[in-house]
């Protein structure tokens, strides 16, 4: 990622006018997280808070290595540690770096009612625009991965930006830069997909028959992808959904229904007007003679 990017907007929340620019697969960026290489050191969490100047509250231990225990408005990425018993009696320690997946078809953006509070750039990054955010939390309902968090302080939504400010200047994501084992890679999506496919082949040769790339097509693919040793059961990785998509309820709520119902209300008013002019008002003879 040596060249600066234009960051043209291809999709904008609560905006019905079509955007002049379309998603561009040639410049699409991605972060690839190779779970098989992750040692759970949390350097990525530190890099994230350092670059984005986030200082979360110091929490308390909840009995597992996850710290903080969940994504927050100030912790945009969290290592999830999962102890999973294997059929042969052994134990798998599965560590997944959780955070925004930067969906090609983002549910948060679909649900957002505030024009321009959520945007998707030409390179695939999904970003929250603080000035336009009203704090309603609809993005939380829209997200298939339970990622956005609403601040109790300023009532704005927060999540990983995929370091859009760094990417605009030709830099990669801070977490990728800090990763000591190169489990996190940042670059062009098509290059990373190719790299991941080779890595998957490699893992299969080494006995991980179910290794695979997690780039779920139900949301049009994601700009944060995983190489998983057990891609046949992504749920083992702290409930990573096997087939994420925008919920049908959200589609019904923010899909064509809202346009149909809006017209319905307008038509009801016009129907009243038409009835009044055709049939006229109901009047009573005030002299007292019933009709």
């Amino acid at each position: 990622m040596a060249t600066a990017q234009t960051m043209n907007i291809v999709n904008r929340s609560a905006t019905t006018a079509p955007m002049p620019v379309k998603s561009n697969p040639d410049i699409a960026v991605a972060k690839l997280i190779d779970e098989s290489k992750c040692i759970g050191c949390k350097a990525c969490q530190v890099a994230c808070m350092q670059w984005n100047d986030n200082r979360d509250e110091i929490g308390s231990t909840v009995g597992v290595y996850d710290n903080p225990a969940d994504l927050t408005t100030k912790s945009w990425t969290v290592m999830r540690f999962n102890e999973v018993e294997r059929a042969d009696g052994g134990l798998d320690w599965l560590i997944r770096k959780d955070g925004c997946m930067h969906c090609e078809d983002p549910g948060c953006l679909k649900a957002c009612p505030a024009p321009g509070a959520i945007v998707k750039y030409e390179n695939g990054i999904v970003d929250f625009v603080k000035d336009n955010c009203i704090g309603c939390g609809y993005c939380v309902a829209g997200c298939p991965f339970n990622v956005p968090r609403i601040s109790k302080d300023d009532h704005k939504a927060y999540k990983c930006t995929l370091c859009s400010d760094r990417v605009a200047q030709g830099e990669g994501a801070a977490c990728a830069k800090s990763c000591p084992t190169k489990a996190i890679r940042f670059g062009k999506k098509k290059d990373l997909v190719e790299w991941a496919n080779n890595r998957v082949k490699d893992l299969k040769e080494r006995g991980y028959q179910n290794a695979g790339l997690y780039n779920p097509q139900g949301v049009g693919g994601t700009h944060v992808m995983y190489v998983l040793r057990h891609s046949d059961k992504p749920e083992a990785y702290n409930g990573l959904p096997s087939d994420p998509q925008i919920s049908p309820t959200v589609n019904m709520w923010k899909g064509v229904t809202k346009t149909v119902l809006s017209w319905g209300m307008g038509v009801a008013v016009l129907a009243g007007l038409a009835h009044y002019f055709i049939k006229g008002p109901k009047e009573v003879d005030e002299k007292g003679h019933d009709a």
Binding site: I134, A268, E286, A291
Partner: protein, 207 residues
Amino acid sequence: MSQLSGEVKRYAANERWNHWFTAILFVLLAASGLAFFHPAFWSLTAVLGGGESSRYLHPILGVLMFVSFIIFAFQKMGDNLMKSHDWKWMGQIGDVLANRDDRLPEVGKYNAGQKLAYWAMLASMLALMVSGLIIWRQFFSHMFTIEAIRTAALVHAISGVVLILTIIVHVYAAIWVKGTIGAMTKGTVSRAWAKHHHPLWYRSLDK
């Protein structure tokens, strides 16, 4: 034939106050709610002072509207139970719309259209209140699952539209049926109006 000049009481002062308090809140809530519902209505956030203040005020005003509506609804529930003559009236909705009032069965304090509007408002208000609490991010949403929040958001949108459509019918009926609006402003209607539109109610009055 009895004396048909003069007025009869239809709504007490507190009932009229309650009605208009609810109505003003409805206008504010419908405007801000529509703004969240479809981008075409986004500029209506200006009614409550912008997007963020709409997000903050909408649920608070919603609770106020619900409370004032429910007080009124409890007072009027007995008058709004559907009777057999109401279903007959509803079956002749064509005559109602064509102003052929002489063919209609006699009605009491409320006709079947008013009664069904009452129940539609009560049902949508209850649905709006429950679903609204679930999607009230600032105070309540953290107590619910995301799936519950999604369902509540959909229920809230649909019941909001049902309420707005019911209010459109309610307001139109008040404009269409002349002599009605005075009931909610000065509190009285003419004897002729009462005898014509609500004869069973009129005869029950202590004249």
